[in-house]
C-alpha cells in the first residue's frame, strides 16, 4: 500500500506537487494519470525517497521508504528505462543491484527469463532498444520480489507484443496481491491495464476512483450497439434518458453505461450483436476533466 498524505514538492519557486493525497491499494493495478508536467514523476520520486517533500509525507507499507536500509524487497521501481550505464551488460547491471540487497545471482537469471531477455543477458545495455531497456528496468523492479511495484511510463518504446506482455504481467502481479502503481500520460493504455485511477493535473489531485467511474464521468462517452431490433432498443434507451444516434448498422448511445444498456436490452428481450464502449471514452473523460489543469495542453481540444 502506498499512501501520499498532503504532499507538496517545490523546486525553487516552481510547485511540482501541491497538497496531494491519495492511497494506492494492494491487489489492483492503479493507473497514475496526468498530462506531461502534472507532477507524476515528482510524486514517484518522493515516494521512493529520492526527493524530500517540501510538505506532507509519503509512505509505503506504513513507513517512509527511506527508513529502509535496503529497498528492493520493499518496493520495485522503474523510473526511467534510459537510466542505466550503457557500458554494462544486462547481467552485470542486475547483478550489482541484486548483490547490494543480498540477493543471489540465481534470481538475476530468473528475472531476465521472466522479462524475455535471457538471450541478450550478456550484451551491453547501450545497444538495447528502448523496449528492451524497459524490460530490463522491469526485471530490476522484480529482483526483490517486492509487495509494491511502481513503473513510470513503462510501455514507452515497447512493440505491440511487449505491450501485451506487460499488461498481462501487471495484472498478474496485482492478482498475486501486490500493489501495482503505473504512471502514464496515455489514457487508452490505462483503459487496458488499470482498474483504479489516480488522476492529477498541475500537481493537484483530480480524481482517485475506479477507472470505470472516472470514464463514466465523461459526458461525451459513447457506446456502440448493434442489434437486429434497433427501433425497439432505441425507444427503450431514449426512455431511460439516453441520447441515441441511429447509424445504418448500429446505434451510438450517449448518457448510459454499457452495463445499463445491456440490462435494458435484456429486460426488453432485445438481441445484441455488439455492445462496445468507445475506447476513446476514457481519453475524452480525461480531456474534459483535466481541461484547465494541464500545463502543456496546446490546442488539443
Amino acid at each position: 500500500m502506498i499512501e501520499v498524505i498532503g504532499l507538496t514538492k517545490r523546486y525553487g519557486g516552481k510547485t511540482a506537487v501541491d497538497d496531494l493525497s491519495f492511497t494506492v491499494r494492494p491487489g489492483h493495478v492503479t493507473g497514475f494519470l496526468g498530462p506531461n508536467g502534472a507532477g507524476k514523476t515528482t510524486t514517484l520520486r518522493v515516494v521512493l525517497g529520492l526527493d524530500a517533500p517540501t510538505g506532507g509525507a509519503a509512505t509505503v507499507g506504513g513507513v517512509p521508504f527511506r527508513s529502509h536500509r535496503r529497498g528492493l524487497h520493499h518496493v520495485g521501481a522503474l523510473l526511467d528505462a534510459q537510466q542505466v550505464h550503457g557500458g554494462r551488460s544486462a547481467t552485470a547491471h542486475l547483478s550489482a543491484l541484486a548483490r547490494s540487497n543480498g540477493i543471489g545471482r540465481r534470481r538475476v537469471g530468473e528475472v531476465l527469463a521472466e522479462v524475455g531477455l535471457t538471450d541478450a543477458a550478456h550484451r551491453r545495455v547501450g545497444g538495447f532498444s528502448l523496449g528492451m531497456k524497459q524490460r530490463l528496468g522491469i526485471a530490476a523492479a522484480l529482483l526483490g520480489d517486492p509487495p509494491v511495484l511502481m513503473f513510470d511510463e513503462p510501455i514507452n518504446g515497447m512493440d505491440p507484443e511487449g505491450v501485451r506482455w506487460v499488461r498481462h504481467l501487471f495484472r498478474r502481479l496485482a492478482a498475486e496481491g501486490r500493489t501495482v502503481f503505473l504512471s502514464s500520460h496515455l489514457m487508452t493504455e490505462m483503459e487496458h491495464t488499470a482498474d483504479q485511477l489516480v488522476v492529477i493535473g498541475q500537481g493537484r489531485l483530480i480524481a482517485a476512483e475506479p477507472l470505470r467511474a472516472f470514464a463514466d464521468r465523461g459526458t461525451r462517452r459513447r457506446v456502440t450497439v448493434r442489434t437486429p431490433q434497433p427501433a425497439v432498443l432505441a425507444a427503450a434507451l431514449t426512455a431511460a434518458g439516453a441520447t441515441v444516434d441511429a447509424a445504418p448498422d448500429h446505434l451510438a448511445v450517449r448518457g448510459l453505461s454499457a452495463e445499463r444498456i445491456g440490462a435494458l436490452a435484456f429486460a426488453n428481450a432485445v438481441e445484441l450483436h455488439e455492445l462496445t464502449t468507445r475506447t476513446t471514452s476514457l481519453e475524452e473523460a480525461f480531456m474534459e476533466i483535466t481541461a484547465g489543469h494541464a500545463d502543456h495542453l496546446a490546442g488539443s481540444r
Partner: protein, 285 residues
C-alpha cells in the same frame, strides 16, 4: 457493475523469502561488480601503469645516456636517481587518471540517472558512498603499489648499469615508494569526493584538474603564506616525500616538512569524504 474502491480482493497468501540482512560487504561487492563490469576499467589501470613505469624508465635512460658527461661529483652523488623513479610527467598523469576514475564511479551514475536505481535499491545513501570509497581506495592502492614499485625497480635497474642506483633499503627510497603508492588512492578518493559534491561530470573533472594540477603552480616558495598554502596541495606534499634532500629553511625559502606532507596526503580524502557523506543524505537525487 461497480468495481470497487474496496481493499484488496482475496488473494492467495504469498510466501515471501525472508529479507536478507543489510550487510555493508554486499554494497562493497556490488560496487566491485559495477567497476569491473566496465571494459574501460582494466584498460585504464593497465595503460596508466605502463605509462608511469615507462616514464620512469625513460627518465632513467636519459641519465644513463648522459652519465659520462656529468661532473664527477654529480656522478658520485647521483642525486637524480630517486627523481628518475618518480618523474613529474608520469605521476601528474597518474594523479589525473586516478582522480578521473574515482570521480567517474559517482558522476557516471548521476550523468546516466543510474543513481536513482541505485538509491531506490539502497536508500542508505551514505553507505553507498562509503562502499564506493572502499572499492576505489582498494583498487587504486593496489595499482599505486604496483606502479610505485614498478617505476622504482625499472629506473634503478637501468641506473644500476652506471652504478648509480638507489637501494630500496634506503629509508628515503622506502618513503618515496610509499608516498608514490599512496598518491593514487588519495587522488582517486579526492575525485570521488568531488564527484559526490559536484555530481556534474564536466564540472567535476575541471575542478579536479584545477585542484590537483593547476592550483599548485600558483604558489611560490619564497613567501611564507604562499608556501604554507602550497604545502597543502597533494602534489606538492608528494613531491616533498619523494625528494631525498632539501636545503634547510631560511628566510625566503620555506620547504614543507615530511610529517606535514604525510598529513596533507592522508587528510585530503577525509576532508572531502566527510562533507560528501553529509551532503548526500540531504540532497534530492
Amino acid at each position: 457493475m461497480t468495481t470497487s474502491l474496496q481493499p484488496a480482493p482475496a488473494v492467495a497468501a504469498r510466501t515471501r523469502a525472508a529479507v536478507p540482512p543489510a550487510r555493508f560487504a554486499d554494497l562493497v561487492a556490488a560496487e566491485w561488480i559495477k567497476l569491473w563490469s566496465l571494459r574501460s576499467t582494466p584498460w585504464t589501470l593497465g595503460l596508466a601503469t605502463l605509462f608511469v613505469v615507462g616514464a620512469a624508465a625513460l627518465a632513467a635512460k636519459a641519465d644513463y645516456d648522459n652519465f659520462p658527461f656529468y661532473e664527477p661529483e654529480t656522478q658520485r652523488e647521483h642525486m637524480f636517481s630517486l627523481g628518475d623513479a618518480f618523474p613529474q610527467e608520469g605521476y601528474l598523469t597518474l594523479m589525473l587518471v586516478a582522480a578521473s576514475l574515482g570521480a567517474l564511479t559517482v558522476v557516471s551514475e548521476y550523468g546516466s540517472g543510474l543513481i536513482r536505481a541505485t538509491t531506490a535499491a539502497v536508500p542508505a545513501r551514505g553507505a553507498v558512498v562509503l562502499a564506493k570509497a572502499v572499492v576505489t581506495a582498494a583498487v587504486w592502492a593496489v595499482t599505486g603499489i604496483v606502479i610505485a614499485c614498478g617505476s622504482f625497480a625499472a629506473s634503478q635497474a637501468i641506473l644500476a648499469g652506471r652504478d648509480a642506483a638507489v637501494s630500496i633499503s634506503d629509508p628515503v627510497a622506502i618513503r618515496a615508494v610509499a608516498a608514490s603508492a599512496l598518491l593514487a588512492p588519495v587522488c582517486a578518493l579526492i575525485g570521488l569526493g568531488l564527484g559526490v559534491l559536484i555530481r556534474h561530470t564536466a564540472t567535476t573533472m575541471v575542478t579536479g584538474v584545477f585542484l590537483l594540477i593547476m592550483l599548485p603552480t600558483m604558489f611560490s616558495s619564497d613567501k611564507r603564506w604562499s608556501a604554507e598554502l602550497g604545502h597543502l596541495m597533494p602534489g606538492i606534499a608528494w613531491n616533498r616525500l619523494v625528494t631525498d634532500w632539501m636545503p634547510p629553511p631560511h628566510p625566503g625559502y620555506f620547504p614543507a616538512t615530511v610529517t606535514e606532507s604525510w598529513l596533507v596526503l592522508t587528510l585530503w580524502p577525509v576532508a572531502l569524504l566527510v562533507p560528501a557523506l553529509l551532503s548526500v543524505r540531504r540532497r534530492d537525487v
